[in-house]
């Protein structure tokens, strides 16, 4: 049965698939198993591959004080063997099918995937069912992973841009749990116990808190049947209780200034912004395209390709005038209102004050007068192309279906091309005026101080033969 929702999805894509000889993409099939697991299957027959993703509605926003970083640590633990996949057989379990696998944790979600040849479908479903129900959490593994994660945290701190981003987010939010980094605070990583990890795993890794996505060279009926075989026996868990705190409206500009040793100066501003399903989200996507170039909607792939931005307002005002070596904007689809962030790296020799003056002038101006019709046309053309580019593999297609099902609803993604095409000048002006208010912003500086010189040492014998 085709619902109106399905029809609109197909039509939205038909504008891209206007070759009558070409098969239109199959409509994703959505099912819910008796234990509450949502299963989404889409047939894509362009390569002999299948991608399986299992999504959990748990991320760092679900963490309470003392437990920050637990979602991500749990993700790491869920690669360390299960009742039916002994620890020493994890290695190679999907590689023997030529497959790749990975997982990630962010503020709203935790997800795991395998992409491999289609004959590995059952194996992939088995791995994900085991991960949901039977992970081991051996105390020795928990301990050795503690230091791996602390190493991951320290690696992130090596990057001044990332450090500033973390401080900025923690300043922009004073109440909502979006404030702490997904990696967690160091003291929590040092003190959390195996039982903390395991308890968290048992609470959130239940079928009624998960979405399974299968995309690729499969038969949809068949795939659902296999999913049922692997997951059907897993008992549902108690409904998950969520932290209820919402961020109160920001009432004045906030500022954080890091003065640390470094070689480059970084500027950021974060503005509280609409969630993915809210009315202002797609107009803000368009506004960001005008300011810094369109990125598309795929957290997994699209943001890794720099946006087309040579005509973008902030690029012209900052980079083309030599004030910044780069400028970027970031508005990501989230479940609850998160942040629109603008970032710039000052050109060597340019002060952060000069960068800030130029950026604020631009942001204030667009908040006052909105964007032009030409800009709207260009932004929509860019977004239309980016949505095509980010659909280039079964892995990316599966990511998008699962991501939006987890943080909003599948509709939000299905309707995105239509919704973007319908964004009006007035909607963009309204969201610019609302989001870019001075009282809604937090400004961050990484203002480098000179590094105390210590000469490189070669062979322990003296200086002078290092990198120069």
């Amino acid at each position: 049965v085709r619902t109106s929702r399905q029809a609109s999805y197909s039509e939205a894509h038909l504008q891209f698939y206007n070759d009558p000889m070409r098969e239109a993409p199959a409509t994703p099939r959505e099912t819910r198993l008796a234990n509450g697991l949502t299963v989404i299957v889409q047939e894509v027959h362009t390569a002999p591959l299948a991608s399986v993703w299992c999504w959990y509605k748990v991320g760092s926003k679900d963490e309470r004080p003392g437990m920050t970083g637990v979602s991500h640590w749990v993700e790491h633990m869920n690669f360390k063997g299960t009742t039916n996949i002994p620890r020493d057989q994890v290695r190679g379990i999907i590689e023997r099918f030529g497959g790749s696998w990975n997982g990630y944790t962010w503020i709203d979600q935790t997800t795991y995937f395998e992409t491999a040849t289609r004959d590995a479908l059952d194996r992939m479903l088995f791995i994900e069912a085991e991960r949901m129900a039977n992970c081991l959490y051996h105390p020795d593994d928990c301990e050795s992973e503690r230091t791996v994660i602390i190493s991951e945290l320290q690696g992130g701190e090596n990057d001044p841009d990332q450090l500033l981003d973390q401080e900025l987010t923690a300043t922009a939010f004073k109440a909502h749990t979006y404030r702490h980094p997904t990696i967690g605070w160091l003291s929590d990583l040092r003190t959390m116990s195996r039982d903390d990890l395991y308890g968290y795993y048992r609470r959130y890794y239940v079928p009624n808190n998960a979405t399974l996505v299968i995309v690729g060279d499969v038969n949809a009926d068949d795939a659902v049947k296999h999913a049922e075989e692997q997951f059907g026996r897993i008992q549902p868990g108690a409904d998950v209780t969520r932290i209820r705190t919402l961020e109160p409206e920001q009432t004045g500009e906030r500022r954080v200034v890091l003065r640390r040793e470094g070689t480059a100066a970084y500027w950021k501003a974060a503005f509280h912004a609409p969630a993915a399903a809210e009315k202002g989200f797609m107009p803000l996507i368009v506004l960001d395209a005008v300011l810094t170039g369109a990125k598309g909607l795929n957290l997994w792939s699209s943001f890794r390709v720099p946006p087309p931005q040579r005509r973008a307002r902030l690029y012209r005002a900052l980079v083309e005038r030599g004030l910044a070596s780069s400028v970027s904007g970031s508005i990501l689809p989230t479940e609850q209102p998160f942040l629109y962030t603008v970032s710039a790296t000052a050109t060597d020799g340019i002060s952060l004050a000069a960068v800030e003056a130029a950026l604020i002038e631009q942001l204030d101006q667009v908040a006052r007068t909105g964007i032009t019709a030409d800009e709207l046309t260009r932004a929509k053309a860019q977004l239309r192309a980016r949505l095509v580019f980010e659909n280039d593999s079964v892995t990316n297609i599966a990511h998008q279906l699962g991501y939006f099902a987890t943080i909003a609803a599948p509709d939000v993604f299905r309707n995105a091309p239509e919704r973007i095409a319908a964004v009006s000048l007035d909607e963009v002006a309204a969201v610019a005026k609302d989001v870019l208010r001075p009282s809604n912003r937090t400004i961050g500086w990484f203002d480098p101080v000179e590094i105390a010189a210590i000469a490189p040492v070669a062979d322990g014998r003296g200086a002078g033969s290092g990198p120069q």
Binding site: P48, R96, G98, S144, E145, Q154, R311, E320, S325, D392
Partner: protein, 426 residues
């Protein structure tokens, strides 16, 4: 063991060589209504003038900012109105201009890319702005332990001005000094049709792509370019250890390596499989198993083999807490000694074969993946049926050959070890 090749019947790209020597490869796919274009020229940073490392890098930053017939603004409008980002990359041997566009935009976009490649005007104002960007990027690299460790490793492995040991971005002083005429000279010297490999993959008929390429590139006049002569690579004879203290950092980066093999070495496939088992398979092969999984010392550890025109490096990289630097280096030493002494097991070799052969459908799923494969195939002269031959080449590597590769490449007494981060020699 016998591995059945993937179900693909082969990429079978169309290949045309124009009269002026330009090579054009085209492959039609219909996965998405998009096309990936990659124009690579044998003009990489190895061709930098001896006293001006960074010339090619700076040229690559300004080459797309104006042509004889198009202003920077016009180019910006042509790209941005179609949602296109140009990726311009510089490797030791190649400068590549690449992008993905909608199929409906293919003709004008291909024309634009050809214009950028053949007739850049390098306006002075653009050059000044791009210099600021490059110098800022160099300053950022100076504060990045991973970059410092790797660049230092390369400079120690490839000494005496070998191009592989030089910094692609150059130094701020060199970048400041480079003029428009320096860059135009470099362009005239190295950018010519005989150096071009053009690849088009996507929703455009191969014949149409070939017509477009002929239209755009046929008028490009052939120039004589001086062949690149690389000095011989001399393997290290002693162990070398360099520490770059960066006390403002939280984590130390280790780069540990050797000069290895050329891409044309008869044992290349044995090296590839050996390196996969040693430092890549699953999470970082044997290295990852020991240093990350068993000892919990590092978030990342792996080894990479960059077999190239000359003997490229086999480089091991890890990020560890400063307290664990010595333990991590000792663990790398131990894994090397164990591999050289005992070799891989047949099971390890088979697993790596299965993985590398089995991952080909994934590698060749997207337009970008196919374009990259075809670029590599043409650059190294591997033949148009290389995608069909590769599984057999991997499958025929014996355990003895893989273990011989380990003995040839790895020796803790000849290792170059660089540490950059919050760490000093005691």
């Amino acid at each position: 063991m016998t591995v059945v090749p993937s179900v693909r019947s082969g990429l079978s790209p169309s290949r045309v060589v124009l009269d002026n020597g330009a090579v054009v490869l085209a492959k039609e796919t219909t996965t998405t209504p998009a096309v990936s274009i990659s124009l690579a020229v044998r003009a990489g940073s190895a061709h930098d003038p001896r006293d001006a490392e960074g010339t090619t890098w700076l040229l690559s930053r300004v080459i797309d900012r104006g042509t004889e017939g198009r202003s920077a603004d016009q180019i910006a409008e042509e790209l941005d109105s179609r949602g296109i980002t140009l990726s311009i990359s510089v490797t030791r041997h190649l400068v590549s201009i690449a992008c993905t566009c909608l199929a409906e935009d293919f003709d004008p976009v291909f024309t634009l890319l050809g214009d950028i490649l053949m007739r850049p005007s390098l306006p002075d104002a653009e050059l000044a702005t791009r210099k600021g960007e490059v110098i800022t990027a160099i300053r950022q690299d100076e504060d990045n332990p991973a970059v410092q460790a790797h660049e230092t490793l390369m400079s120690r492995l490839y000494r005496d001005g070998h191009p592989y040991g030089r910094r692609a971005k150059g130094t701020p002083a060199i970048v400041e000094r480079l003029s428009r005429s320096d860059l135009l000279r470099q362009h005239a010297l190295r950018f010519g049709p005989a150096e071009l490999i053009a690849v088009v993959v996507g929703d455009v008929a191969a014949a149409h792509a070939q017509e477009a390429a002929a239209r755009v590139f046929r008028p490009w006049r052939r120039t004589e370019s001086v062949p690149l002569v690389l000095p011989p690579v001399r393997p290290a004879v002693t162990r070398d250890r360099i520490v770059i203290p960066m006390m403002n950092k939280a984590q130390a980066d280790i780069a540990y390596g050797f000069t290895a093999v050329t891409r044309h070495d008869p044992d290349y496939y044995a090296f590839w499989l050996m390196n996969n088992a040693f430092g890549q398979y699953a999470i970082g092969g044997r290295l990852g198993d020991n240093i990350r999984e068993k000892q919990g010392m590092a978030y990342y550890v792996s080894s990479s083999l960059d077999a190239n025109v000359a003997e490229g490096p086999l480089a091991i990289r890890a990020g560890v807490s400063p307290a664990n630097v010595d333990r991590a280096i000792a663990a790398i030493d131990e894994e090397i000694n164990r591999l050289v002494r005992d070799g891989l097991t047949q099971k390890e070799l088979d697993e790596s074969k299965q993985f590398l052969i089995g991952s080909m459908p994934r590698a060749l799923e997207t337009n970008l993946g196919i374009a990259s494969f075809l670029q590599n195939e043409e650059f190294f002269g591997l033949g148009l049926d290389y995608d069909l031959e590769l599984p057999g080449k991997l499958d025929s590597v014996t355990l003895d050959a893989a273990n011989a590769a380990a003995r040839r490449a790895l020796d803790v007494d000849r290792a170059t070890v660089v540490v950059a981060g919050p760490y000093t020699e005691r």
